[in-house]
Amino acid sequence: MKPNPAADNSRRSLLLRYVIPSGMGVLAFFVLFETYYLSWYVENRILHFILTDVVGAIYGFYLLFHVLILYPIFYFRGAALHERILGTFVVTSCWLIKEVLRMTEFYSIAESVFYLLMPVQIGIILLAIGFMAACEMICRKIEKKKKALDIRVVTPVPVAFVLLAISGSAFILRGGGLNYFFNFYDLYKIVFL
């Protein structure tokens, strides 16, 4: 993936192309996260279920699919490749940091970080990478069509990442995740016990 060639004449300031979109992504994550957990304490049953079921669903979908919203924003605001990747990955990072912090209540820092190798976390990371790569090619296609630019839409690196994400997700979902889960524990025992 090369820096966005279309960005030169539409490149926004660092604040607009990077800080604000990533900040909004993080803010949305925390608002959904907090709303879902606070909804547990809402006494009114109807409101409780609306908040838990609806916000819970949005929270889950956001965690899995936020890249599809954020990446194009970064792209079309002229963010460079590293900005697009870092900016998009910030939400996934929030989730991973939250999980590590949650684990530190019970386990050492090393064990808490090791938890990132769990199939769920790996799946979320793979999904984010795959969506980024797919978005990159889709954005190129849109940009190429819109501005008649001479750029290659499909290139080996994003294709490889899309394939990695698809095969990794399929492996996890089609039973390989369970094997991975047990291997994860075997590795844990070797490293920590």
Binding site: H48, A57, E105, F106, Y107, Y188, L193
Partner: protein
């Protein structure tokens, strides 16, 4: 009481009674009794059936509005159901080791699902074998470490795949140390077949069989035949549950609770069906009257209560189990509910007691045979619950004392203790720690917890 009248009114003139009377007369005369030459009454057979994650209230006989478990109910109707049965650690491996050894996790050493089983541990099966029983262990072993070298088993059928969890379908087995492909597609049926085979082979011996099922552990997978038994039925979910509880806060299950719960109930009904097959086998062989049947679960399960799933925590949903004993001729009023608190560590001493074998001193549990035989037997007043951290689950290490009225929990780490009044607050929603009613009862509970931690009587 008029003994003479009783003798004539209660005793028919049978050959056995004539022999007994004659023997008594001979004994009185100092002569050898012909009864000494008669065979002793055969020791009772013992069949222990253990299920996985079966919560105490998921049975039709205790009032669950949906599930049907006619065979578990039958055991209860013909025996005694302990309404206050618990595990001392609500986690598969430690609990299973406690059932087998009669010891707490801090004594048998299987503290979580990662710490290995120690082959020097003595199981009640080993002691039964020494006492002349034919013994079998069939089913889920699921304890960390290498495949165990269990002493005193005539038959050992288990599995190691998927971290010892086994598979619901086509689970490869290890039969007496030999890798053996599955004969039946569904694991509960397969294990039942092995159990029935063992019972048939040993019908003339006194036997002790430990039948340990995989069902109804996650991923709660019934066979095609039972898959849809609860489709469309309205399931009672706790008010704290929502669609996403099972996917949040470290509770990562690949589906929503309601769907999983439906499958869980179906799995249990299927298990019940196969328990029926074993009960029928005992009837068919004519040995039911001399066979003690005990059914228990290895721990409970949350279905959204306290915003939790799985088990481990000290709440009732997690630590409370079904525990039913059918002991023909020994339960004075079959079908009764016993209120005394009994524990998984009581199983081993109870079985040994039933077989007339001395209970080793290093067993932490106690025989509940007196409670089985007499409903007025006074049970224990308190017991120790313990949970050791189990990577990667978000449950802090804790110890608790559970009395008939209260539960007091202390954590390792930064959490404050908790205290519940189970009579006023059976759902454990109001933590009384630090409140005036809590302050009042706290010193006694703390003292009792310390006593129990030091190995005080339970």
């Amino acid at each position: 009481m008029n003994l003479k009248n009783d003798f004539f009114s209660n005793n028919r003139l049978t050959r056995r009674n004539v022999l007994k009377a004659g023997a008594a007369a001979l004994l009185a005369a100092g002569l050898p009794s012909p009864l000494s030459a008669m065979p002793e009454k055969k020791k009772p057979n013992i069949l222990f059936i253990l299920s996985d994650d079966h919560r105490w209230d998921a049975m039709s006989g205790v009032g669950h509005p949906v599930i049907k478990t006619p065979n578990m109910d039958r055991i209860a109707q013909e025996g005694v159901l302990f309404s206050n049965a618990f595990v001392t650690t609500s986690l598969c491996s430690p609990s299973r080791a406690s059932f087998l050894t009669g010891q707490y996790a801090h004594n048998h050493g299987v503290k979580n699902n990662l710490t290995p089983w120690d082959n020097t541990n003595v199981t009640f099966l080993e002691l039964m074998k020494k006492a002349g029983y034919s013994t079998g262990f069939i089913g889920k072993w699921h304890m960390p470490g290498k495949y165990p070298d269990l002493r005193g088993l005539d038959r050992f059928v288990s599995f190691t795949v998927d971290g010892g969890q086994g598979r619901y379908f086509n689970c490869p087995l290890i039969v007496d140390g030999k890798q053996t492909p599955s004969k039946k597609e569904y694991i509960t049926e397969e294990l039942t077949d092995y159990a029935n085979e063992f019972i048939t082979d040993h019908k003339d011996d006194p036997f002790c069989l430990y039948l340990s099922h995989k069902a109804a552990h996650a991923l709660f997978t019934p066979s095609e035949k039972f898959k849809h038994v609860y489709d469309g039925m309205d399931l009672p979910m706790p008010p704290e549950n929502d669609s996403w509880v099972g996917l949040t806060n470290g509770n990562l299950y690949p589906s929503t609770h309601k769907r999983l719960y439906r499958n869980y109930l179906a799995c249990l009904t299927e298990l019940d069906h196969h328990i029926g097959s074993v009960l029928n086998k005992l009837d068919e062989l004519g040995i039911a009257d001399n066979t003690i049947v005990i059914y228990a679960g290895d721990n409970g399960h949350f279905w959204g209560e306290h915003h939790l799933n799985d088990k481990r925590w000290y709440y009732e949903e997690s630590m409370r189990i079904p525990f039913i004993v059918r002991y023909p001729g020994m339960v004075p009023n079959p079908g009764r509910r016993a209120e005394q608190m009994v524990l998984n560590i009581d199983l081993a001493p109870t079985i040994l007691d039933m077989a007339g074998i001395a209970v080793p001193k290093n067993m932490d549990g106690k025989s509940i045979l007196p409670e089985i035989k007499n409903e007025n037997t006074r049970g224990r007043d308190a017991w120790l619950y313990e949970y050791f951290k189990d990577y990667s689950y978000n449950v802090p290490e804790h110890m608790a004392v559970r009395t008939n009225r209260h539960k007091y929990i202390e954590f390792v780490g930064r959490r404050k203790p908790e205290l519940y009044d189970l009579a006023d607050d059976p759902k454990e929603m109001k933590n009384l720690y630090g409140t005036p009613p809590g302050v009042e009862v706290l010193p006694a509970l703390k003292k009792r917890l310390e006593q129990l931690k030091q190995g005080g009587t339970i």
